[in-house]
């Protein structure tokens, strides 16, 4: 019977993740398109969009140096489903479903009881946080599967010492898939090390061998992330530790105190940075973020529901209580997992950040499942509890799905750069008849949309592309084939050309053919022709 329940949960997870995957979210965001086209390029010519042969540590892409994991995982998907929206998002959905299964096994290992494991898997299957990331090409979602699997295998290491190898391989894959994992894996390994110190000492030979293997395989990534400007670029761009404000505040306070020696200690800039860091850290546990509004970025949350359901709160609190009260042997692991998860994301400016903190995900569901099981065993009216809770859960899911499928695409199509595909589809039949196509880059990275939706042969693209690199190491594609990407269209006065501009910005003398609008009826592009 319980096996059938698990199958049902996995089926629910699959339906929630795969239904209308190509339509909701309403469009591919530029990062998703970049992942997809680079995977297509690997499939066709074994090189990325910049012609680099099978990159190991990073894909140059826009100059954001994407980790390679998701791109390689998308290659078979594109081979099967062609270069489509579904193919690009499928790996994320697939690993999302696998994560639900992994959480079942992990929770069973932690708490032994089948019902807790099934409940935790169900809670993750319907989690708004996990669904949001499973339904778009988010590297962090795939990495979440590997980090969760890594933790699961590490716990299995207690039974058979060779499980340390798949565990460390999983953690390594997570780090090669999402940059945020590079600040999570070392900390979770410390927590796991503390939790299983006796087993580690007992099997130190296998552990040492596994660590050696881990370090050898990690070395290229470590070298890239620490020794190259490209590797440090993204971190330097987002970190609070490059902000000048704490330094200015510190200097101001010290100036008021006449730069006395004790003022240098009390108003040390490191305290100001620590204060900023702690604010970012505690922001991760902001109840509004967790239970009501979710991430402020509409691509990371539908805005109408928290990262967790409100009913989760009433199960997580008893879960925490019983975990401590019963002095559960894995309390250290679970609390450690929760507390270290924001350590990395707190170094960045935008907090709380659902994407960078996605590795915290199954902990809340596992603790909520424990909370429910504990309440169930304590309360007298068991049937009433189950009926009441089932009603609340059903209402919550219904409300979430309504907002996700009806409201979300309409309200936030602009956030997903809706309009690019419609524009390319309109330009596509006209493009052979004109000499040039001038495209405004006002929404950014227009070229990748043409490559993707026209399924441009990567080899042909590499032959004709004019690419420059700016002083921030970002790549700019100025032109390829007949396409010219510019924000100064007026400077290019050419006959028999198509123009794609921001609304109302077609050059003088152009005949407007179409205005592309988003799902909220806002204009996105004007398309015109100059005969």
């Amino acid at each position: 019977m319980k096996k059938y329940i698990l199958v049902l949960i996995i089926l629910t997870a699959a339906v929630l993740r795969l239904y209308h995957l190509e339509k909701v979210p309403p469009s591919l965001y530029w990062d998703e398109i970049s992942l997809g086209y680079n995977a297509y390029s690997i499939l066709k010519i074994a090189r990325d969009e910049h012609g680099k042969f099978l990159p190991v540590t990073n894909f140059g892409a826009f100059g954001d140096y994407k980790p390679p994991g998701y791109i390689y995982a998308t290659v078979p998907s594109i081979a099967i489903f062609d270069l489509t929206e579904f193919a690009v998002r499928f790996p994320s959905a697939f690993f999302g479903i696998l994560t639900v299964l992994t959480v079942y096994f992990l929770t069973k290992k932690l708490f032994v009881r089948e019902t807790i494991a099934l409940t935790a898997a169900l809670f993750l299957a319907i989690s708004p946080w996990h669904l949001q990331f499973s339904r778009a090409a988010f590297e962090s979602n795939m990495a979440l599967f590997f980090s969760t699997a890594g933790i699961y295998f590490f716990i299995k290491f207690k039974d058979k010492h060779w499980y340390i190898f798949p565990s460390l391989i999983c953690f390594l894959t997570a780090m090669y898939t999402f940059t945020g994992q590079r600040l999570f894996v070392p900390f979770i390994l410390i927590i796991l090390g503390l939790q299983f110190k006796e087993e580690i000492i007992k099997n130190y030979k296998s552990v040492l061998l596994a660590i050696l293997l881990f370090l050898v395989l990690f070395f290229p990534l470590f070298k890239f992330a620490t020794q190259t400007i490209e590797g440090r670029l993204r971190f330097d761009e987002v970190t609070i530790f490059k902000d000048l404000k704490p330094i200015n505040d510190s200097t101001e306070e010290r100036r008021i105190d006449d730069f006395k020696p004790w003022a240098n200690i009390i108003h040390n800039r490191r305290f100001f940075f620590l204060h900023e860091y702690l604010i970012n850290y505690f922001d991760a546990f902001n109840p509004s973020f967790l239970f009501f509004k979710g991430d402020i970025n509409p691509r990371l949350s539908p805005q109408t529901v928290g990262e967790l359901y409100l009913f989760d709160l009433f199960l997580i609190l008893p879960g925490i209580y019983f975990l401590i009260k019963n002095k559960h042997k894995y309390a250290l692991l679970l609390f450690g997992w929760i507390l270290i998860s924001p350590l990395g994301p707190a170094t960045a400016r935008e907090t709380p950040h659902a994407l960078r903190m996605a590795h915290i995900l199954p902990t809340f569901q596992i603790i909520a499942a424990l909370g429910l099981a504990s309440l169930y065993s304590l309360l007298r009216f068991k049937k009433s509890l189950i009926i009441f809770l089932s009603g609340i859960v059903a209402l919550s899911i219904f409300s979430y799905l309504h907002f996700y499928y009806v409201h979300y695409p309409l309200e936030y199509s602009g956030e997903w750069q809706y309009g690019y595909k419609q524009m390319v589809n309109y330009v596509s039949p006209l493009y052979p008849k004109v000499d040039k196509v001038f495209v405004s880059d006002y929404l950014g990275r227009a070229y990748i949309n043409f490559l993707f939706y026209l399924k441009k042969d990567p080899y042909e693209y590499l032959k004709t592309a004019d690419v420059s690199r700016d002083n921030l190491f970002f790549y700019n594609v100025n032109s390829f084939d007949k396409f010219v990407f510019t924000n100064n269209m007026e400077n290019f006065d050419s006959g028999n050309s198509l123009y794609v501009s921001a609304p109302g910005h077609l050059p003088a003398g152009t005949i407007k053919l179409k205005t592309v609008i988003d799902l909220n009826s806002y204009p996105v592009f004007d398309i015109g022709i100059k005969p």
Binding site: I279, F282, P287, S288, F291, F292, L310, Y321, K325, H407
Partner: protein, 148 residues
């Protein structure tokens, strides 16, 4: 001795200035928010959706309770608590919550849970800052009680 230390800690906390909360919602802002939210959400549902479904999901009671719950949650924002109490104060505030679940002191549990709710009806949200300080001081007292 413990009372004296607790008093010192409480004075230290009370002297610390209260920061303005990041969200200043109260009962007035909740009522102000309701009509535009209902109008906005019902418009998106469109005329093709059955009215019963629209009214079931986007009704006044739903939106009022969701706004109330959000406002309640804003009053328990750990960043605001940290800003008002500092890291040590935040620790004892959390310890207070834990101690309440351990000792099951019903009046204090009610006070702890009701304070954010009551302050929704008070226009100045900084009032919450004083409750953080009081609960953190009691938490400190409970913490000291562990040691003989």
């Amino acid at each position: 001795m413990k009372i004296a230390i607790t008093m010192l800690f409480a004075i230290f906390l009370i002297l610390k200035p209260i920061s303005t909360p990041s969200n200043k919602c109260n009962i007035n802002t909740i009522f102000q928010a309701m009509p535009p939210v209902i109008w906005y959400e019902q418009t998106i549902d469109g005329k093709d959706q059955p009215p019963t479904l629209t009214r079931f999901i986007h009704n006044k009671l739903n939106i009022f309770s969701s706004q109330m719950a959000k406002c309640y949650a804003y009053r328990l924002d750990p960043v605001d608590i940290y800003r008002s109490l500092g890291i040590l104060g935040l620790f004892f505030w959390v310890y207070f919550a834990w101690a309440m679940s351990q000792y099951l002191n019903k009046p204090l549990i009610f006070a702890f849970l009701l304070t954010p709710f009551i302050t929704i009806f008070i226009p100045d949200p900084r009032i919450m800052g004083y409750s953080y300080k009081i609960f953190a001081s009691i938490g400190f007292w409970y913490f000291l009680k562990r040691f003989k």
